[in-house]
Amino acid sequence: MSLIHYERRRNLGNTDWSKNWSSFAVMHPSYELGIESGRVGKLLGQLGHSEGATNAILDTVLNLPAAHGWWADDVFKMASGGTGNTEVIRFPHREVTLENRLYDTLASFKVRTAQIAMHLADGFRQRLFRQLDSLLCTEDWVVEDEPPKLASFSTFLRLILFLRPDVQPGLGATQDGHLIAMWTTSSARLSIECLPNDQLRWVLSRCYEGSLESAAGRCELVRIRSVLEPYNPRAWFEHDDGLRTP
């Protein structure tokens, strides 16, 4: 699975990239390599694609795996190998601080969300970004906790697209890097922990005639609707105007 994200860099060497159209760089964290956007355009040209506007190039790079059956890794390998290509920039090594890790996590989540933005209502996306900003805030993060993994976030997004709930969930995180989607009513609670590869752990409780009932399980994402059916999931997912997916 590829992992690719970008970040704005106000200064790199003597170049102030924020002043021209190539104000972003595409990064590959595993290789500590990055490709400045203009060079990405040339690279895409070599690969048979026309060089377009900045956003189009960015979209193209970020969507390469889906659009062309390539992983972004392949693009970087092609860029760094072969003819001794000098178009690949090696960025200065960044110190691995909690702040940097949370920043990278947040950036990768927002990029992944942008890739499926056409399937999400604007209100949902804006609220989700606010939730992520809050969840991954350095001041409130426990140092010992692992920041949520991109694979967990991808499962979360697919869960939302699969369930298409009216009610947007609250967000939490486990200590070992999994996002938790939470739905709560006055008498019932549902938490779905998003594991990599479309695996889910769920737990619920509700008051029924004065006593507390609870249940838990693990399932594939595509099974969640059926698994929750005996517990009246409409109480959690419906009757709110928070999210309306097209």
Binding site: R127, R130, Q131, S134, L135, C137, E139, D140, W141, V142, E144, D145, V167, Q168, P169, G170, L171, G172, A173, T174, Q175, D176, I180, M182, T184, R189, S191, E193, R201, V203, L204, S205, L212, S214, A215, A216, G242
Partner: protein, 148 residues
């Protein structure tokens, strides 16, 4: 040395990070998520603080004193974290209903004289942790609501 068990009618207070608080989509805090009661890898027991260890005219006074004590320890609760409060008897009963016989032991540490080690705690039992979060250990006080 004898083991000092915390009396069953006394209460435990445990910090809950922002990421394990139960929230709605607008980040309004609604309670505690069950993940707050999971052990970390290799963590031998669940840590908490004994509420009645502290003097106070009321339960609220004791709670505020306990929070001040925790803030002054090596562990620094973050501004938007909370504290889960539960009575020992009810926590033990919830555990027994899932066949766990826990031990709630007062084990003073260098930085927390009221530290409690909840021993024989299950590594992971989603149903138990949910029942605790929704009931026996589900009272929540936010850190920012406690006076300095």
């Amino acid at each position: 040395m004898t083991t000092a068990y915390v009396p069953p009618d006394d209460s435990l207070i445990r910090n809950v990070p922002w990421a394990r608080l139960r929230k709605d989509a607008d980040d309004n805090v609604l309670g505690i998520d069950s993940a707050a009661f999971r052990l970390r890898p290799l963590e031998p027991y669940l840590s908490a603080t004994w509420l009645e260890f502290f003097a106070g005219a009321s339960k609220t006074d004791q709670m505020h004193e306990a929070v001040r004590h925790i803030r002054n320890s090596d562990f620094k609760p973050t501004a938007n974290s909370g504290f889960a409060i539960g009575k020992v008897r009810e926590i033990e009963a919830a555990c027994v209903s899932r066949s766990y016989k826990i031990r709630v032991v007062h084990e003073e540490t260098a930085d927390n004289r009221a530290h409690v080690a909840v021993r024989r705690w299950p590594e992971d039992d989603a149903v138990l942790f949910e029942e605790l979060a929704a009931g026996a250990w589900g009272d929540l006080v936010m850190n920012k609501d406690c006076p300095a």
